[in-house]
């Protein structure tokens, strides 16, 4: 078994929540099954506890009993890097085999973290036009032990925007544009009082692509002496990428013939994320917004006078929101404002949990 990261925080919206599913009402839970990370938001006293884990698993044989054991999350990635499997690499389970792996992973996480079965669960799901992937994800969700009372799904971009726009469900009453800067997709949407308009998705500008670019640039910067895998590249990005205060860093690799090689990275990480922001702005300014302006004149005009909500893992990079805001303003030749939730990596699950809570209050189960 693995232990996922569990954090607790006060939630001003949450009053007298059931912590274990033992009361009369089902426990409202928010889940984001992400391609890189899975996050589950569960009531905990007056606040929430969030379970965060890498969406991956590895199996191994117990040397004493011969039984097959499952490790998930960071432990799996660290202890079995050779056989760890990321089950949602493309955002949704591509086939039945991936769906089974995802189901195994999900059940392990639920069991290890005592997620109550008597629950109303809202899933934050990417808006990807992939019927087969959605059918596979549906089998995972319906086969899981949680959500006995209610299961709903909403676009990840809406759920992720909820914590950015207030302490309740203000996002459902407002008109705004949101951009989800995810690992496997860039998604943009306008929302008009909860209604999704012009859902836009591209797989051309992604966090995973940044990882690949970092790996390539590291090879270039070290004149071919250093090859890193995408997992290491992602770690470089998550630890070192910083638009405000980037500092060159050193790392050491073991040479195949023995010995080690120390190297310093000055450009590779920031060059990759810098290009990423340019590409993201290009997609929003020249593909998504023209379509919105063409189809929804007033929503376009209203939404650009309000903060654009950025969500997704890439938003965690310090200064990225401000950089996106600056470059989009230049591209549109008008001032636009961008904002992000306090914890972008958790916001989809937290927003989903708030919706679940309101559905429970409204006795929608």
């Amino acid at each position: 078994m693995s232990e996922a990261d569990v954090e607790s925080e006060e939630d001003p919206e949450h009053e007298g929540a059931d912590t274990g599913g033992g009361g009369d009402e089902p426990t409202p839970i928010g889940v984001k099954l992400g391609s890189t990370r899975t996050v589950i938001a569960i009531p905990d006293g007056d606040g929430l506890r969030t379970v965060k884990t890498l969406t991956c698993l590895a199996t191994y044989e117990d040397v004493i009993t011969g039984e097959e054991k499952v490790l998930y999350g960071d432990e799996a990635a660290t202890e079995y890097p050779d056989r760890v499997q990321y089950t949602l690499r493309s955002g949704l389970p591509e086939d039945e085999s991936r769906a089974e792996l995802t189901a195994t992973f999900f059940e392990e996480v639920l069991e290890a973290n005592d997620v109550p079965e008597d629950s109303a669960v809202v899933y934050a799901i990417p808006t990807i036009d992939n019927e087969r992937g959605l059918a596979n994800l549906e089998s995972v969700i319906e086969g899981s032990s949680i959500g006995e009372a209610l299961i709903r799904s909403y676009p990840e971009s809406l759920c992720g925007s909820v914590p950015a726009m207030g302490e309740g469900l203000e996002a459902v009453d407002d008109i705004f544009v949101t951009v989800n800067l995810g690992s496997t997709n860039l998604e943009a949407s306008a929302y008009r009082r909860g209604e999704q308009l012009i859902p836009f998705t591209t797989g051309a500008v992604t966090g995973n692509e940044v990882d690949r670019m970092i790996a390539n640039y590291v090879e270039e910067e070290t004149q071919g002496r250093v090859n890193i895998d995408n997992t290491t590249a992602r770690e470089y990005k998550e630890i070192h990428a910083d638009f405000v205060d980037f500092e060159p860093f050193t790392d050491v690799i073991q040479q195949p013939g023995g010995g080690s090689h120390e190297f310093t990275i000055e450009r590779s990480v920031m060059d990759a994320v810098d290009e990423y922001v340019d590409d993201a702005v290009e997609e929003i300014a020249n593909a998504f917004l023209p379509e919105l302006a063409n189809d929804y004149i007033k929503v376009y005009q209203l939404a650009l006078d309000r903060p654009i909500v950025l969500t997704g893992g890439m938003t965690c990079i310090p200064g990225l929101v401000e950089e996106f805001e600056k470059r989009l303003s230049e591209e549109l030749q008008r001032d636009v404002e961008a904002t992000a939730p306090a914890s972008p990596a958790e916001s989809a699950a937290v927003g989903a949990q708030r919706i679940a809570e309101r559905l429970v209050d409204a006795e929608a189960y």
Binding site: Y154, D174, G194, L289, Q301
Partner: protein, 169 residues
């Protein structure tokens, strides 16, 4: 598909939301009005200036396209002498006033109605009635620090044209 995030139940979501829309409920936004923007194909007119942002070009082209559809060549100033008596027009009126209030706050909107009257977009009857509607609309999310810009006035003209088309029915 039950979990398809594109097919969520909007009514259920809105019911679960505690906040209330500033102007009435969703029922007051009839489909005929709501779908007014339902689009035709994007305009081929990319404008004259290749450096202009694509979104701004698309915005202006969409307004020009809709106004051309509504302009039958017989219009006279003021374009909207009086407010049309129609339930759908009422919803459209609230939508317009709410749009302007959200953009710039009530004070700026009152000034805008005066301006529209001066340039012959509104008749005095219509402007007077709109002031009364305005007194009933407010929204805490209004960008009171904003002024209405040219694009907002284009949107207003779009509403005026659509309201005038109600009068001609």
């Amino acid at each position: 598909m039950a979990i398809d995030p594109r097919n969520y139940d909007l009514d259920e979501l809105r019911s679960a939301s505690v906040g209330q829309p500033a102007v009435g409920s969703q029922d007051e936004w009839p489909a005929a009005v709501d779908d007014e923007e339902a689009s035709s194909e994007p305009s081929e007119d990319d404008g004259d200036d290749p450096d202009r942002p694509a979104a701004a070009v698309a915005f202006e082209a969409a307004i020009a396209r809709d106004l051309a559809t509504l302009d039958d060549g017989t219009v006279e100033r003021p374009y909207l002498p009086t407010l049309p008596a129609s339930l759908s027009a009422e919803a459209l009126l609230f939508e317009w006033v709410e749009y302007l209030v959200l953009q710039a706050g009530r004070e700026s909107v009152a000034d805008a109605f005066d301006f529209y009257e001066r340039v012959g977009w509104l008749g005095s009857d219509a402007a007077g009635m709109l002031d009364r509607y305005l007194s009933g609309v407010d929204d805490p999310r209004a960008n009171t620090g904003n002024g209405l810009d040219a694009d907002d006035h284009r949107v207003s003209l779009h509403y005026i044209a659509r309201l005038a088309s109600f009068s001609q029915r």
